[in-house]
C-alpha cells in the first residue's frame, strides 16, 4: 500500500525538532509506530474479503514543571497525518500547563543497546501464500471432521479472520534516548460449530502471537472442534457447591490481575492497597506456593517492548516470592510518590510454582470441575471477586467426564491464594507465562 508522504524517520525527526524548540517543556517522550496490515475474512475456508493498509501514529507525552515547586504538569497526545503540526504540539503543551500534580521526574535512562526479538525471523509469507496457508489448514481440519462425522453430528470451522501486522517503532526522549525496533503480530479469530440431534454448540478462539507458527493454528482449532463436539451433549453442572475447580486456557486470562493491581504503587499511594506498605501478604492471605514476576522484555512476548513510553528499559522484576513482597511495580509518577523504583506497568507476567504447590495431572482430586472457557473472565481488580458463567467445562468424578455449559463459578482470588495448586507443565499465553492449569480449592459452582 502506498505509504504516507513522510517516512517514519522523517516524522520522528520533525517531531523531535518541534519538541526541542519548546522552552516550556521540561521532559518529553514519544513512541512512533508505522504499521502495515493484511486482513483476511473467510466464511468456512473461503476468503470473502481482503483488506490491506498502512497507518502510522505517534504517542507523545510532555511534562512541564511549574515554578517554585508548584507541581508537575503533564499531558499526552496521539498524532497522525491529520494532526502532526505545531498547533497540536502547542495544544498538548498548554494542557500540560493546566495540570499541577505533585512533583516527580522521569528517570533519564540511556536505553542504548536494548534489543529483544519481536519480529518474525524467517521471510514473511506473501499475501497469497498466507491466504493459502490458513485456508488449506482450515480446509484440512474441516475435511477431517467430515470424515469423522458420526452419530454425534457434524462439526467444522465456520469462519476465520486472520490479521498480520508488521510494525516499525521508535522511542525518543528529551534526554537523547533513542530505541528502534520492529515487530510482527498475528491475530486469528475463529469458531468451531458442532450441530446434531437438533442442537448446536460453538467453541470460540482468539489467538495472538508474534509468529505464524506461534498461533499453533491447527492444534488450537482441533482442540476447539473437540470442545464444540463435546458441548453438543453438555448440560448444566451436576456437581454444585464448594468443590475443587481447575481453570485452564482462556479461563486463566486476567486471573492474576487483582493481585498485580494490589502490588502496584498506585494502589499504595491512593490508600487502597490490600497489603498496605507491609512486606508480606501472609497475615492477610496466607502463604502462596509461587513466585510472581514480570519481564516486559520477554523474547516474543506479545506485549513486550524494549522500553516503555516513559523510557523505562524492560527487565525482570520479582513482585512476590511465596508470601514475601519482593518489589512493587510502579509508573514513574506513582513510584516517585511512594519512594519506589519505577518499573513500568507489568505487561508480561510469569508465575512459577514451587514444588510443594505442583501437582501431576494424575493427582488432581475427584470430584472436580475443569473450566476451559468462561463467558467473561474479569476478576474485580479491587475486591478479587470472581463470578462468571461457565461457557465450556468438564466435571470429572468416579463416573467419568461430562461436558458442562451453564451455571456459575464464583469465589475470591485473594482468599484462595494459599490453596492454589498448579500443573507441572507451563505454557505461554499473551501476557502470561504460567502453569497450564490452576487448581482452586475454595470456589463454588452453582447450577
Amino acid at each position: 500500500m502506498s505509504t504516507p508522504t513522510a517516512t517514519l524517520e522523517q516524522v520522528c525527526n520533525r517531531l523531535q525538532r518541534m519538541l526541542e524548540a519548546r522552552r516550556d517543556v521540561s521532559q518529553w517522550t514519544f513512541v512512533a509506530g508505522e504499521s502495515e496490515q493484511h486482513q483476511l475474512f473467510a466464511i468456512s475456508d473461503t476468503i470473502e474479503c481482503r483488506r490491506k493498509g498502512t497507518t502510522w501514529n505517534v504517542l507523545v507525552r510532555v511534562f512541564s514543571d511549574h515554578p517554585d515547586g508548584g507541581g508537575r504538569g503533564e499531558a499526552s497526545i496521539v498524532l497522525d497525518a491529520s494532526t502532526m503540526d505545531e498547533r497540536s504540539i502547542a495544544g498538548v503543551v498548554e494542557a500540560a500547563g493546566l495540570v499541577k500534580n505533585p512533583p516527580y521526574r522521569l528517570v533519564e535512562h540511556e536505553c542504548s543497546g536494548i534489543g529483544i526479538p519481536l519480529l518474525e525471523e524467517k521471510e514473511l509469507l506473501s499475501e497469497r501464500e498466507l491466504e493459502q496457508y490458513v485456508s488449506s489448514s482450515v480446509r484440512r481440519l474441516n475435511e477431517e471432521c467430515r470424515e469423522a462425522c458420526d452419530s454425534h453430528g457434524r462439526a467444522g470451522i465456520t469462519y476465520f479472520e486472520l490479521f498480520r501486522n508488521v510494525i516499525r517503532k521508535q522511542f525518543r526522549s528529551s534526554w537523547g534516548a533513542e530505541v528502534r525496533w520492529s515487530e510482527t503480530r498475528y491475530l486469528l479469530e475463529a469458531a468451531a460449530v458442532a450441530e446434531g440431534n437438533g442442537r448446536a454448540a460453538e467453541s470460540f478462539r482468539l489467538l495472538e502471537s508474534r509468529t505464524l507458527q506461534g498461533l499453533a493454528l491447527e492444534e488450537e482449532l482441533r482442540a476447539s472442534l473437540t470442545e464444540a463436539r463435546d458441548l453438543l451433549s453438555a448440560s448444566g453442572p451436576e456437581l454444585t457447591g464448594k468443590l475443587p475447580v481447575v481453570f485452564r486456557g482462556a479461563a486463566l486470562e486476567n486471573i492474576m490481575m487483582p493481585l498485580v493491581a494490589h502490588l502496584g504503587a498506585e494502589y499504595l499511594y491512593r490508600g487502597t492497597a490490600r497489603y498496605g506498605d507491609s512486606d508480606t501478604i501472609e497475615t492477610i492471605d496466607g502463604v502462596p506456593g509461587f513466585r510472581l514476576e514480570f519481564d516486559n522484555g520477554r523474547p516474543w512476548g506479545l506485549h513486550s517492548a524494549p522500553v516503555d513510553t516513559e523510557g523505562i528499559p524492560s527487565r525482570r522484576h520479582v513482585l512476590l516470592d511465596r508470601a514475601r513482597i519482593v518489589s512493587r511495580w510502579g509508573t514513574s509518577q506513582y513510584a516517585a510518590y511512594t519512594g519506589l523504583e519505577p518499573t513500568g506497568t507489568p505487561m508480561e507476567l510469569a508465575l512459577h510454582p514451587y514444588e510443594e504447590a505442583r501437582l501431576g495431572d494424575d493427582s488432581l482430586p475427584l470430584p472436580r470441575m475443569e473450566i476451559h472457557e468462561l463467558s467473561y473472565m474479569g476478576p474485580d481488580p479491587l475486591t478479587g471477586d470472581i463470578s462468571s458463567e461457565i461457557r465450556c467445562a468438564y466435571e470429572i468424578d468416579e463416573r467419568g467426564r461430562r461436558a458442562v455449559k451453564g451455571g456459575i463459578v464464583r469465589g475470591n482470588l485473594f482468599s484462595n491464594l494459599h490453596t492454589l495448586r498448579f500443573s507441572r507443565r507451563s505454557r505461554y499465553a499473551p501476557g502470561l507465562l504460567a502453569p497450564e492449569w490452576f487448581l482452586f480449592e475454595g470456589m463454588e459452582i452453582h447450577g
Binding site: 466464511i43 498502512t54 493546566l98 505533585p102 487502597t272 464464583r410
Partner: protein, 471 residues
C-alpha cells in the same frame, strides 16, 4: 459541511476512476479527535483522544469484496488499487442487489437530516478552554466529597467524529459530538473496600459534567452500603431490574443474538426463529440509530447505507435482525429490509460488521413502584457493569454491582455484591411479566464484537420484572 470542502469533488472523482476497474467502489472518510480529562485525588490528567483520520475504500471485483485503508489517497495509491483488481469480466451475482440497496439508500438520505440525529451541544468542548473543563470537574469533585470517601475519580471525555461517504449514487456527510462523563467512588471501612460508579454518555458537550452530580452522590452512598456485603444466594429468583440492567439484557440477548453476520458464520441461533415467539408478549425490542442525541446514533452507517429503526422483537415475536452490506448481499435481503444500515467500523482501518446502535426494550405501563410492590420475594438489580453474548447457545451473562432484597413488596435493606445474571435467552425473556413506563437509554460505553472491534453504543429499557438465575 465546511470540514469536507474540496473533498467531495475529489472523492467522487476517485470513485469514478475506480469504477472503471471494479463493479462497484465506495469511499468512506472519517476523522476523529477529542480530549479526555481525569480528576482523581491529588492527581490529574489531560489526554487527547487517539486521532483516526483516513479513508476506507470498498471495492467489488469478480473475486468478491476488497478493501484498502490509508491515511491519504494519492495517484500511487489509486494505481495500486487498480492493479489489485481481479477483473470485472462477468456480472458479479451481488451487483444488482448492491446497486438497488445503495440507490434506495441514496433516495432515503435525501429526505433525512444528520442534524436531527446529532443535535448541537449546549456547551461545545471544542470551543472551551481546557482549563474551564478541568475546573468544572474539580468543582464537581469538591461538591461530592464526603469525609468517608476514600477515592473519588471523575472523567470527562469527548470525541468529534466527522464522516463523509461517496459512491456512484450518493454523497453523504455528518459530524457528531459524543461526550461521556463518569464517576468512580471508592469507600474503605471496617477493613473492607467497595466501590460504585455512575456513567452518562450521549451526543452532547460539557453540560454532561453537571448532570452526573446526583448520580455520583448516589453511587457514593451505595458504595458505603456495600461495605461487608457478599454475593446474593445463588439460584433462580424473581427480579426487578433497573433500566440500565434491562439495557444490558437487551444488548446481550437480541442485540448480539440478531447480528445477521453471525448467521453467515453459523454462530447465531436466530436463523430458525424469525416469526416465532422468543419472549413474553409484553416484550418489544428495538435498535434505532436515528434516535436524536443518543450515544450510538448516526444518519448513515460506515458503508453508506441510510440508518433506520429496526424492530427486533414485536410483542414477543422475533421479527428482524441487524445487517451490514456484505451480509445483506449473502442473505439476499431486499433494499427495504428493516435491518439494513447497521454496518459499523471501529475505525477506517477496520472492516464493517453488523452492529448495534441504540438497543432497548420498549416501554410498558407499570410504574417502577408497582413492579417492586407486586413482588413477594426477590431482588432489585442495579448498576449494570458488564456482559457477554452467546448467540449460538442463546445463553446470557450480565454482571451488575448491586442486588437489594425485596420481601412483601418492600426493599428490606439487605444488599449483595457482585451479581451475575445468567440464563437461556428465550426463557429469560419469556419470564418478563412486568414492564415499566420509565424507558431510559444509557450511553458512554463501547461494544465489542467478540473481543475486538469496539464501537460506541447505548442501550436501555424500562424497569422490568422477570425471573433469572443469580450468582
Amino acid at each position: 459541511m465546511e470540514v469536507f470542502v474540496g473533498l467531495e469533488a475529489k472523492m467522487k472523482e476517485w470513485v469514478a476512476r475506480l469504477c472503471e476497474r471494479y463493479h462497484y467502489a465506495s469511499i468512506l472518510h472519517t476523522r476523529r479527535k477529542g480530549r479526555r480529562f481525569i480528576v482523581m485525588d491529588r492527581v490529574e490528567r489531560i489526554g487527547f483522544a487517539r486521532p483516526s483520520a483516513g479513508f476506507a475504500v470498498k471495492l467489488l471485483d469478480d473475486e468478491g469484496f476488497r478493501e484498502f485503508y490509508l491515511p491519504t489517497i494519492d495517484d500511487d495509491a489509486l494505481e495500486e488499487m487498480e492493479r489489485a483488481s481481479r477483473g470485472t469480466s462477468g456480472s458479479h451475482p451481488w451487483l444488482g442487489r448492491l446497486e438497488r440497496i445503495m440507490k434506495e439508500s441514496a433516495a432515503k438520505e435525501k429526505g433525512s437530516s444528520a442534524s436531527g440525529v446529532h443535535p448541537a451541544a449546549i456547551m461545545d468542548p471544542e470551543r472551551m478552554e481546557s482549563s474551564e473543563i478541568l475546573e468544572r470537574l474539580r468543582n464537581l469533585q469538591r461538591a461530592c466529597r464526603e469525609p468517608w470517601i476514600s477515592r473519588l475519580d471523575l472523567t470527562y471525555s469527548y470525541t468529534v467524529c466527522e464522516r463523509c461517504f461517496a459512491d456512484p449514487y450518493s454523497w453523504k456527510e455528518e459530524k457528531a459530538l459524543l461526550s461521556s462523563c463518569h464517576s468512580m467512588v471508592t469507600v474503605s471501612m471496617d477493613g473492607d473496600t467497595r466501590y460504585c460508579f455512575h456513567v452518562n454518555g450521549r451526543r452532547g458537550g460539557v453540560e454532561l459534567i453537571d448532570e452526573i452530580e446526583e448520580g455520583t452522590r448516589e453511587a457514593a452512598r451505595t458504595a458505603r452500603e456495600l461495605i461487608g456485603a457478599g454475593p446474593p444466594p445463588a439460584g433462580e429468583h424473581r427480579l426487578v431490574v433497573d433500566p440500565d440492567v434491562a439495557g444490558l439484557i437487551a444488548h446481550e440477548a437480541f442485540g448480539h443474538g440478531v447480528e445477521l453476520d453471525m448467521i453467515l458464520k453459523r454462530r447465531s441461533n436466530a436463523e430458525g426463529y424469525f416469526g416465532s415467539s422468543v419472549a413474553s408478549d409484553l416484550v418489544s425490542m428495538y435498535d434505532d440509530p436515528t434516535l436524536p442525541g443518543e450515544y450510538g446514533s448516526y444518519s448513515f452507517d460506515d458503508e453508506g447505507v441510510a440508518a433506520r429503526r429496526t424492530c427486533i422483537v414485536e410483542n414477543g415475536i422475533l421479527t428482524h435482525g441487524l445487517s451490514d452490506l456484505h451480509t445483506a448481499l449473502r442473505l439476499g435481503l431486499e433494499p427495504d429490509h428493516a435491518g439494513l444500515g447497521h454496518g459499523r467500523r471501529e475505525s477506517f482501518s477496520r472492516k464493517a460488521y453488523a452492529r448495534m446502535s441504540n438497543t432497548y426494550f420498549g416501554p410498558g405501563e407499570s410504574s417502577r413502584e408497582e413492579l417492586i410492590e407486586s413482588m413477594d420475594e426477590g431482588f432489585l438489580i442495579q448498576y449494570a457493569s458488564n456482559g457477554m453474548e452467546d448467540p449460538r447457545g442463546w445463553g446470557i451473562h450480565c454482571e451488575a454491582l448491586v442486588a437489594r432484597k425485596i420481601r412483601n413488596g418492600r426493599l428490606t435493606g439487605e444488599i449483595f455484591t457482585p451479581v451475575t445474571i445468567t440464563g437461556y435467552v428465550p426463557e429469560l425473556l419469556s419470564s418478563i411479566d412486568g414492564v415499566g413506563d420509565d424507558l431510559r437509554l444509557f450511553g458512554g460505553g463501547a461494544c465489542g464484537k467478540g473481543r475486538k472491534e469496539f464501537v460506541e453504543v447505548s442501550d436501555g429499557g424500562p424497569t422490568l420484572r422477570l425471573k433469572a438465575r443469580l450468582g
